[in-house]
Amino acid sequence: MRLALSLTVSLAAVALVASGCAESPNARGGSSGSDDPSELVFAVVPTEDGEDLAKSFEPVVAAIEKKTGLDVSMETVSSNAGVIEAQVAERVDVAVYGAFSYYLAQDVADISPVAIDQLTPDPGSGTVNSYGVVKAGSDISSIEDLKGADVCFTDPASTTGYLAASAGLIEAGLDPEKDINPVFAGGHDTAVTQMLAGDCDAAFAASTFIDDILPAKGVIKEGDVTKIWTSDGLPGSPMVVGNWLPEDVRKDVTAAMTDYDAVSAAEDGLCEGAEREAPAPWGEEYAGKKACEWGGTGAFAFEPATDAVFDPIRKICDVTDADVCREE
């Protein structure tokens, strides 16, 4: 009893002292959106294939701070709508999210894409694909064979997990709502595992899941699944800045992203103590060199991007006329 009482009283005392004396870790500097920002707000939305989002963007934040001379506060946000609404209200200056989120955001917020993921030193290596897969040994060998089948997708608003596949089905002469029985599994991994468990005959998921993540996590083994369809290349995750920022700030942010790559960032000391060895797909030129964890996908660099990069998504939306694509 006495202990509980004294604990509570001391807690209250600490709270009072803390609130009186120190600045909260969450206190905001100037408000963003003004002509002369004192701080940039940088928001990232997790992609399914990234781990420890906050840490992997630290070097990127350091690069932006260095080039612009402004403080950058980073927020990791679980919902694309949260970031987009903050952009509409001009309260997020720089954001990294999925390509489809950009497609939605450009309609309501005053923003421009400045850079896009580049996974290896090859330009354009950040493009992703959607795969259609079946269990090894299945009778289904092409997307046309899916007529009447139960098909697992991710969710209706996923480009690689539904929309691209849906466009593919339409191009193959199948109605994705009537000619197949769509099942939304809620995740790329669930779509594939439940297809293997027999809940559906085929599954559509992002290429990274089938090529890298699921095998690496031991969820699927070599030869478990057979690929029956691959989509055209789709844009990866863009970095987007608000057009309300002064032009020099926007230029500096773009420069921070396109001047550095993961290796030169490490050389410049942007991730001191957290360097990793350049991965094999980056080729011999970078073998054995130190690199930063450069963004949520562990990319090699960000390459310049324009709005035209997102045309494949507009095309998919034109073909499917999906509910999620409708503009306001």
């Binding site: 399914e48 919902s79 209200a89 669930t190 468990a197």
Partner: protein
């Protein structure tokens, strides 16, 4: 779970019979003090800035303007989704209610059976409550496959923790006299429970089961993880694709559904309230040829009728979520693989920070919610103000507040304030207010009216009756439900992730999405520890107060 201290043999003096030693009331101010202390720290930590909220008002109205006109998409499709959700939620909540009844009876401190059974029941209740339904969903989808059955079970498992906990509280708050007298005539444990505890608890029990059904309908977005579809998934998709017209339409439909449930809850509470009309209407049953068997009266017919209706609805719902038993034999290997991923649990700084952030936010938001909820509850219960339209209006208002999902509040505050804990705190405070108002209103309505009538008969004013008759009976549930609101808010704090304020919900979602199940397990362990701690405080307080 509380560690039950052995009862000190009281000296047999006349003083040992004193009704309540004065220092017993310490919990009634120590716990509120604790809340205020955390809230003070929380307000500093969150950096509350009301001027910013005023400055963002125009951004809020711009966002709200984008929600009108409300559209409903294809109406038959939407109604199909509503029914689908309703059946799954009904099946899940019904299963949970049936399982909770024996669990709550065993966990109650009036349970006279073996102690290990009591500990086991309390353990099950805390663990099922601490584990978020997201985690049950990913496990059950492996076992039972995609579809409504896995969804109903995920809902059922998580609901057991809340329904059984609240049932236990209801059982313990009953005055022991009727039970003791029935026990004294040599009834069996089951006879005594049914005749004295269950019958008197029925109004509260039916109301809390219906409330859980309400929560489960609102939380049905989790069904998307098991491929069961439903209205929650449709709402999530609409918000995710910025289709706010449709999102608003779905919210309207959910609000209508919840209002209907609230009406059923209100009517059925009146119908099953055995003692609600004590001394005001004849409680005598009609005579039958066999003098030991009671005949039928209106109350009994209503009670039996509604029980039959609910049983029928539950049975029908269960037929809607059937599954293929043959599938079980094929799924055990993949389930084992999944569960193996949970070992070893990882408790890294991100998990600990997440728990800390969520806890501070949940406790601070609870403090706001309890104060606001108390005001609403006192105004809408008939003890102080007997103005039926006001009480009906407040009830409807609370239902409408809760029909709007947290994510919408979060988006509104993000538009006004930008990303960060302040927006999350406001969104969480609103859901805490709705939770607390609901809990408090129900417990105020269920205060035993007999002592109040007695006080009124002495000529006491309404305020006097409230202060000396209602308040002392209400304090245990005030404290219990405040702690429970924090407990729920802690797990509803996924809303913090939407506004970039971190929290344990964000860590949990991220770990599940990246298949990092070791971290998921770490989060679960931390959640169990915190929920057990809150439960221990609640039990200690109840021991002191009741």
């Amino acid at each position: 779970m509380s560690v039950s201290t052995p009862v000190r043999p009281a000296p047999v003096t006349s003083e040992a019979r004193e009704p309540r030693p004065p220092r017993a009331a310490v919990a009634t101010w120590l716990i509120p003090l604790g809340y205020v202390a955390v809230a003070l720290f929380g307000t500093w930590w969150i950096a509350i800035d009301l001027a910013a909220l005023r400055d963002g008002a125009s951004d809020i109205s711009r966002l709200l303007a984008r929600m009108v006109p409300v559209t409903f998409g294809l109406v038959p499709a939407l109604l199909g989704l509503v029914l689908e959700t309703l059946w799954i939620a009904l099946a899940g909540t019904g299963i949970a209610a049936l399982v909770s009844l024996p669990l709550a009876a065993a966990a109650s401190r009036d349970f006279t059976g073996p102690k290990p059974v009591q500990w086991l029941a309390r353990g099950l209740i805390v663990v099922t409550r601490a584990v978020p339904s997201l985690v049950f969903a990913i496990v059950f989808v492996r076992i039972f496959g995609l579809g409504p059955f896995a969804g109903a079970l995920a809902i059922a498992f998580h609901s057991v923790g809340m329904i059984a906990k609240m049932m236990t509280d209801v059982f313990e708050e009953l005055t022991p006299a009727p039970r003791e007298s029935i026990d004294a005539v040599g009834s069996s444990r089951l006879q005594s429970f049914v005749a004295t505890t269950l019958s008197r608890a029925m109004p509260s029990v039916s109301s809390l089961v219906l409330y859980r059904l309400d929560i489960n309908i609102r939380a049905s977005a989790v069904l998307g993880l098991v491929g069961a579809g439903g209205i929650g998934v449709a709402l999530q998709t609409a918000i995710g694709s910025l289709n706010y017209h449709l999102a608003a339409g779905i919210i309207v439909v959910i609000a209508v559904l919840l209002l209907a449930l609230e009406l059923i809850s209100f009517l059925s509470q009146r119908a099953v309230a055995e003692h609600a009309h004590d001394g005001t209407v004849a409680e005598l049953y009609r005579r039958t040829p066999d003098p030991t068997r009671p005949g039928w009266n209106r109350g009994r017919a209503l009670r039996t009728g509604s029980a039959v209706v609910f049983a029928g609805a539950l049975l029908f719902a269960l037929t809607q979520v059937r599954f293929d038993p043959g599938r079980l034999s094929r799924s055990w290997q993949s389930t084992l693989d999944l569960l193996a991923g949970f070992v070893p649990p990882v408790i890294d700084p991100a998990v600990v920070t997440g728990i800390f952030e969520s806890l501070v936010m949940a406790l601070t938001a609870t403090t706001v919610g309890v104060v606001a909820g108390l005001v609403i509850a006192v105004l809408s219960s008939p003890h102080l103000i007997r103005f039926a339209p006001l009480s009906a209006l407040l009830r409807i208002l609370v239902v409408l507040i809760r029909s709007v999902p947290d994510v919408i509040y979060a988006l509104v505050f993000v538009a006004a304030l930008g990303l960060g804990p302040f927006a999350g705190f406001l969104a969480l405070s609103i859901s805490c207010t709705a939770l607390a108002a609901k809990f408090f209103t129900d417990s105020l309505e269920n205060v035993d009216p007999a002592p109040l009538r007695a006080l009124e008969a002495t000529g006491a004013s309404r305020l006097q009756v409230f202060v000396s008759g209602v308040w002392p009976r209400f304090v245990p549930s005030l404290i219990g439900n405040s702690l429970f609101t924090s407990d729920l808010a802690l797990r509803e704090s996924a809303v913090l992730g939407i506004v970039g304020a971190g929290g344990v919900g964000f860590v949990l979602q991220e770990s599940v999405a990246t298949l990092d199940y070791g971290t998921t397990a770490g989060v679960l362990i931390c959640l169990v520890v915190v929920v057990v701690a809150l439960e221990a405080v609640a039990r200690w307080a109840r021991k002191k107060v009741i």
